[in-house]
């Protein structure tokens, strides 16, 4: 579904992405792990079009992604969520989701019909909010939500874009344990229908969800394998997992 | 002809130096404090009125020139403490509106005190002659003195910004405010200092403009708009950019005004040529700015790390 070939991104002398080659197979949940500053968000940003790579190629569904403007990628089924919560703070929760729906339905330039009159759109948005357990906050102005709830809005917005491939940049960061479990279950339930590339620090989540794990260190993919093999890979142990934390949490 | 071209070129540089004196403060306040101060032009006017009053009373241009600095600084201090400080955390829209209100206040206040008749400042005797440059061209000494003061101010600023500790803090603060706060720098003090220094440059420019133009209410706003053009062309927050922008605007504006009529006159009938030339030369700097921004949306010397 997604093929990244020899991707490089340099910021001056710093190689934030260093010759990355990566395949995400259709229907799988593919986790991307690595220490802070390994270039995970930089990679996601190149796939979603926020950054332009220095060299290399990205193919999505057989199309050359780099030739496609960022705002057209969601319409092709490539959708991202953000690590730093990036919602529309003065819109209500349901409007945040409706905004995505109207974009997907090509109704951005609907100039006169009152937005609230579109019952079908609201119903669909409500359905998505139920899936992320936010139905009770639908009319709340988003800025008034707790941080963890804003993360849930972020996921609802990503789902509303009807993704084929979902790029999730630390979706659970800042959520409480309960919400985190809920979202994990939700993502697990979407396995097969939506392909996911998941950046996550919580190893329980990673090893619980992922079909495949890639490890990124200093902009390079040092290993790409099943969770079981990644756990046992000595190079990964040395470079990233560093021993104790990994064993403590996955034992 | 070459005498005329040379003279107008120097006039352009001289206008550029004026613009730079006012723009320097504007760009620092803008870049470091993130404040749009429309009333910066009023400080220019205050400088001009100070010298008109003081030199009128004492009969000495020089006493007026020296005293206009503390006068402008005092005015700037009051403005900074009362109005600018509460605006630090506000968006640009609020800043534009509040400082626009300040302009109304200062302009009407000045009209009430000084009346509507323009004031004039006598040129100091020592600078009133002309000098011969390169053995060929004759040029007024006073205008040369203005160019020289501009160069001196630019040099002082360059030294402070690149060679001193305070300069390092200013550069850091322009790029990233949080860093400076974490370094334990006294931000409030630095803000006030920058505002006062910028104001004194503007006051100095106003004082020096005294003998060249009539001192009147509204003189600050016309100049202010030009200065915004300069700092936007140069890239907001950059002293180098302000200098480059000011010189470019000064030269383009002056040359346009002097030569466009005759250039157009070669193609058009004289009546419409003069009208179009006047319009075109007034437009030229704005056209320049639009071209710069369309090609480089953050100016020619953007300060790294800064968004909008």
């Amino acid at each position: 579904m997604l093929q990244i070939r020899n991707l490089c991104k340099n910021f001056g002398a710093l190689a934030a992405t260093n010759d990355v080659t990566l395949n995400v197979d259709e229907g799988t949940i593919h986790a991307l792990i690595g220490p802070n500053g390994a270039g995970k968000t930089t990679l996601i940003s190149q796939i979603s079009g926020y950054l332009t790579p220095t060299s290399g190629s990205i193919k999505f569904d057989g199309q050359d992604l780099l030739a496609m403007p960022a705002h057209l990628r969601p319409h092709a089924g490539l959708v991202r969520s953000f690590q730093v919560t990036s919602v529309f703070p003065d819109l209500s929760v349901i409007e945040n989701v409706c905004l995505v729906l109207q974009s997907m339905n090509h109704q951005v330039f609907s100039l006169f019909r009152p937005a609230v009159a579109d019952k079908a759109e609201r119903a669909e948005a409500m359905e998505i909010l139920e899936r992320v357990a936010l139905e009770n906050e639908a009319e709340t102005t988003t800025r008034n939500l707790a941080h963890g709830q804003k993360r849930q809005v972020e996921i609802a917005m990503a789902l509303a874009a009807r993704p084929k491939l979902l790029l999730l940049d630390e979706p659970m960061a800042g959520m409480g344990a309960e919400e985190s479990r809920q979202i994990t279950t939700l993502l697990d339930g979407l396995r097969g229908s939506i392909t996911m590339l998941l950046v996550e620090h919580d190893m329980d989540v990673v090893f619980g969800l992922a079909d495949k794990v890639s490890v990124l260190v200093y902009g390079k993919v040092i290993a790409s394998d099943t969770p079981r093999n990644i756990r046992l890979d000595p190079e990964v142990q040395r470079a990233y997992l560093g021993g104790h934390e990994f064993h403590d949490r996955s034992a | 002809m070459s005498q005329l071209v040379f003279e107008q070129f120097l006039n352009g540089i001289q206008l550029g130096m004026f613009l730079f004196l006012v723009s320097a403060g504007l760009t620092l306040v803008f870049g470091f404090m993130n404040i749009i101060n429309l009333a910066h032009g009023s400080l220019f006017m205050i400088g001009a009125y100070s010298i008109a009053l003081i030199s009128g009373a004492t009969g000495s241009f020089w006493i007026g020139l020296i005293l206009c600095l503390p006068v402008t600084a005092l005015a700037a201090f009051i403005i900074e403490v009362l109005i600018i400080r509460p605006l630090y955390t506000r968006d640009h829209l609020d800043q534009v509106l509040a400082t626009f209100g300040l302009i109304l206040f200062i302009n009407e206040g000045t009209t009430m005190l000084m009346g509507r008749t323009p004031q004039f400042v006598d040129m100091p005797e020592a600078l009133s002659g002309s000098v011969t440059l390169f053995g060929v061209f004759s040029y007024p000494l006073y205008r040369l003195a203005i160019i020289a003061s501009g160069i001196i101010v630019a040099a002082i600023l360059w030294f402070i910004i690149t060679k001193t500790r305070v300069g390092m803090q200013i550069r850091a603060g322009t790029t990233n405010r949080e860093i400076v706060q974490q370094l334990g720098v006294n931000i409030d003090g630095l803000n006030t200092a920058i505002f006062l220094v910028g104001a004194m440059f503007a006051g100095l420019a106003g004082a020096m403009a005294g003998p060249l133009t009539s001192v009147e209410v509204g003189m600050g706003e016309n100049l202010l708009i030009l200065c915004f053009v300069c700092i936007v062309i140069g890239g907001i927050g950059s002293i180098r950019g302000a200098l480059f922008g000011a010189l470019t605007v000064g030269i383009v504006d002056t040359m346009g005004r002097s030569f466009l009529p005759s250039i157009l006159g070669a193609f058009l009938d004289p009546a419409s040529a003069s009208g179009i030339a006047a319009g075109l030369s007034s437009m030229s700097i704005y056209l320049l700015m639009v071209i710069v921004l369309v090609l480089k949306p953050t100016g020619l010397f953007p300060v790294a790390g800064r968004i909008s």
Binding site: F82, P114 | V232, I236
Partner: protein
């Protein structure tokens, strides 16, 4: 404070007052104020159009008066050629409102399209400054039109434009015509901001960078609203030219753009109604502040009423963040 729930009722009341205003002014013997009321209504159209940009989309345009100028000069130039009986690039002048008004609006929209297409490449402060520059360019363009009066502007010697069944040279009729324009434009804008497009505009103001990730190209949406706002200001400019029967570059001076911004912010951005309230307060201050100051014995200040207006503006900015609208109305939440 009043709850926003009562807004529709209050707005109906407001429209009623505006409808009855000329009759009341006539009855009280101050019919000269009808002209002031007309000015207010025209200014409000321009202010509402600017609110679409500043308040809803977060685009601080400092050159909005340019479009007033385009609208006004369209009217002025057509009227000039109708009076002279000659042609303009082969086209005859006219005073027919059915041609002049749509043309003024269309030309303003076209100029806004050109200015917007270039200006919207920049953001933030640079956008403020580039729109200011375009405004100045148009100002100097109008100054250089010697044929049409240059600096001094030109009179419309044949009077106002004509409309079938309506004598616009009658000041009552003209007031009602302008009021109808305001109400129609206000209604249009209300629909616009409540639509899905309006939702997109608000999203641009709140978090523009996020839009491409949900498949929306903000540039196109911004350009469209810039054109709509420009067209609205063009309408106001065309009406203004007819109101004073005079067109001059002063209409496009940057301080006019400043006045418009003041009115929008003073009234409360992002509310549409706020800018109308702002216009009322601003023009009332302009009209009556000198009289008030005079009556309390501050004669010196009555001549220099701006000396008082300045601090009022500063105080409003510092202490009443959401403008007059915010002082009057309590949000529904």
């Amino acid at each position: 404070m009043i709850s926003e729930r009562h807004l529709p009722k209050l707005m109906a009341l407001g429209v009623l007052v505006l409808l009855l205003l000329p009759l009341m002014l006539n009855a009280s013997g101050s019919s000269y104020l009808i002209s002031t009321a007309t000015r207010l209504v025209i200014f409000a159209i321009a202010a509402v159009s600017l609110d679409l940009l500043i308040g809803y989309t977060g685009l601080v345009s400092f050159g909005h008066a340019a479009f007033l100028g385009v609208g006004a000069y369209t009217v002025g130039i057509l009227s000039f050629h109708a009076y002279e009986g000659d042609t303009f690039f082969g086209l005859p002048g006219t005073l027919s409102g059915l041609i002049v008004l749509p043309l003024a609006v269309a030309l303003s929209a076209l100029v806004a399209l050109a200015i917007g297409a270039l200006s919207l490449r920049t953001k933030g402060v640079y956008f403020i400054m580039i729109t200011l520059s375009f405004g100045q360019m148009l100002f100097f363009l109008f100054v250089s039109l010697e044929k049409y009066g240059g600096d001094d502007g030109m009179m419309m010697f044949d009077g106002r434009i004509t409309l079938p069944g309506l004598d616009l040279n009658d000041r009552m009729s003209f007031y009602y015509f302008c009021l109808a324009c305001l109400i129609a434009f206000f209604w249009f804008c209300r629909r616009l901001v409540a639509s899905k497009f309006g939702r997109t505009l608000q999203a641009i103001r709140q978090n523009e960078a996020r839009l491409s990730s949900i498949g929306i190209r903000s540039y196109t949406a911004k350009l469209l609203i810039f054109v709509i706002a420009g067209a609205g200001a063009g309408l106001a400019g065309a009406l203004s030219a007819n109101h004073t029967e005079f067109v001059s570059p002063a209409l496009t001076h940057w301080t006019r753009s400043g006045d418009l911004m003041i009115v929008v912010i003073l009234g409360g951005i992002g509310t549409l109604l706020g800018p109308v309230l702002g216009t009322i307060v601003f023009l009332l201050l302009e009209e009556f502040l000198p009289l008030i100051l005079h009556s309390v014995g501050l004669d010196l200040l009555s001549e220099h009423w701006r000396f008082v207006l300045g601090p009022i503006l500063i105080l409003i900015v510092l202490f009443a963040k959401s403008g007059i609208y915010g002082l009057l109305f309590r949000s529904r939440e």
